[in-house]
């Protein structure tokens, strides 16, 4: 199972508490994880990636294993610890304010 941590507002929107656990068929990449997330929670479509371009929304970041993966190719394999469920994949809202 892949573990995904969502920002609070998206947890509220998706009506989930804590981590989301997903079955991801095939290679575990950012694209496949987000595809599985949006398939399980359709209300999240468009809130993390643009509906049409599938580009990451500008004020969101993707972290895992203490790395910023936001600029990695969407089809690059995620770290083994994420694929094995040992570490979560984090969707993070940019900090705002002064």
């Amino acid at each position: 199972m892949i573990r995904v941590v969502l920002p609070a507002h998206l947890r509220t929107l998706a009506r989930v508490d804590g981590e989301v656990k997903l079955e991801v068929p095939g290679p575990v990449t950012q694209r496949s994880v987000l595809d599985a997330l949006e398939a399980a929670y359709p209300m999240l479509r468009g809130t993390i990636r643009d509906h049409v371009t599938l580009q990451r929304r500008p004020f969101l970041r993707f972290f895992a294993c203490e790395q910023d993966l936001s600029h990695q190719p969407p089809d690059a394999p995620l770290p083994g610890a994420v694929a094995e469920g040992a570490e979560p994949y984090l969707v993070v809202g940019a900090m705002a304010g002064g």
């Binding site: 920002p7 507002h9 929107l13 209300m43 809130t47 809202g93 940019a94």
Partner: protein, 371 residues
């Protein structure tokens, strides 16, 4: 006994205010969707418990919410607003062509006859429609592909389609307004459009009487006379007696003819309301006095309505969608401020009292009269 439900959109959530017909005591619920900007929420005229809300965020983009029980519970609707076909370009602030890009839904206008049909006005300016209760949205692209569209240019607040008026007496006729392109009318249910801006004068554009390019802030109509339109423009309060074919200024004795909202009394089609703001850069009332102005003559002659409103040191704004009326008798009038107050008058504006004082900045106010 009739009841009133006031739907309030704010910078940090939605609030639902309800009262019986006396409009003396109010029940307040919210925030719904706390932390999100709620540009607009509105109920179906034929099924008042069917509500739609535009929920957006700089982080997470656009969400559409739908309620089937008057706002007690909500469910997410489709939030995909994809322009139909090639998006083309409009003018950017520097005068260069700029690709159309969806930013948010500014206004939701439910159909007058079908609770599953809703129109959505969006930024960058375009009109969308759902016919399945928000299950999916399709663009009525005849507006965005109008021959003048490549020359449209955003105002400081973005190039938004913020006003949608449906003609109750003539099927297929509707009006929209876009900042800063102007007013447009369709007579074929949104398939084709033409500008209806003749008579507008805007000193801030190269040709003050151009066919398009006017910063229209809001248009209002009375259901009994849909050919008569009232407009609050960037500057100037205007009136059309021929469904937008021509406009004439009715600012009259207003202390400032700059402002955002305009609305019409529920039972008196010649009684209209505006909230003058000092200027385009000083978005607060003249002299620090919050005054609603009422004309009982369809414009030109205005009276200040002050009782119950702050008359010193008041520097809030009232945004374009933040005024509404109920259908009771006497007519109730409501508006919200950027300071978080929602004021109500149960006597057509003669006196006012705040329903709530300390909400986040109010973006929109809509009123439902429930039997």
């Amino acid at each position: 006994m009739s009841r009133v439900r006031v739907l309030v959109g704010t910078r940090k959530g939605a609030f639902v205010l309800t009262s019986d017909g006396t409009r003396a005591r109010w029940d307040v619920t919210g925030p719904h969707f706390g932390g999100w900007e709620i540009y607009h929420l509105k109920g179906s005229p034929v099924d008042p418990d069917r509500l739609y809300a535009s929920q957006s965020s700089g982080w997470f983009g656009q969400v559409i919410q739908r309620s089937n029980d008057g706002g007690k519970t909500w469910e997410s609707a489709d939030n995909k607003f994809a322009y139909d076909g090639p998006t083309g370009t409009h003018l950017w602030y520097d005068g260069t062509p700029h690709p159309w890009g969806f930013a948010r839904v500014w206004h939701l206008e439910p159909s007058l006859s079908d609770p599953d049909t809703v129109y959505a006005g969006v930024e960058d300016a375009a009109l969308f429609r759902t016919t399945d209760g928000g299950g999916s949205w399709q663009e009525l692209s005849g507006l965005r592909t109008h021959t003048s569209a490549p020359l449209w240019q955003p105002g400081a607040g973005g190039m938004c389609l913020h006003t949608i008026l449906l003609d109750p007496s003539r099927a297929g006729r509707m009006f929209v307004a876009i900042s800063a392109a102007g007013a447009f009318r369709s007579d074929d249910a949104g398939a084709t459009w033409r500008p209806v801006n003749r008579g507008l004068q805007s000193e801030g554009i190269p040709d003050p009487s151009a066919e398009v390019g006017h910063c229209v802030h809001r248009i209002a109509m009375h259901r009994s006379r849909p050919g008569v339109l009232f407009m609050q423009k960037h500057w100037d309060v205007m009136r059309s007696d021929d469904a937008g074919e021509t406009w004439r200024e009715v600012s009259g004795n207003l202390p400032s003819d700059f402002g955002f909202p305009i609305d019409v009394h529920a039972h008196e089609p010649e009684t209209i309301y505006v909230v003058p703001i000092k200027s385009d850069s000083e978005h607060y009332p003249p002299d620090g006095k919050l005054r609603v102005y009422r004309s009982r003559t369809g414009g030109q002659e205005w009276e200040a309505l002050t009782r119950g409103l702050p008359q010193s040191h008041c520097y809030v704004n009232v945004l374009r969608d933040a005024m509404s009326v109920d259908g009771l008798d006497p007519c109730g009038v409501y508006f919200g401020t950027t300071g978080g107050q929602v004021y109500a008058s149960a006597d057509a504006g003669d006196s006012w009292a705040p329903i709530v004082r300390d909400l986040p900045a109010v973006v929109s106010v809509e009123v439902q009269t429930l039997s």
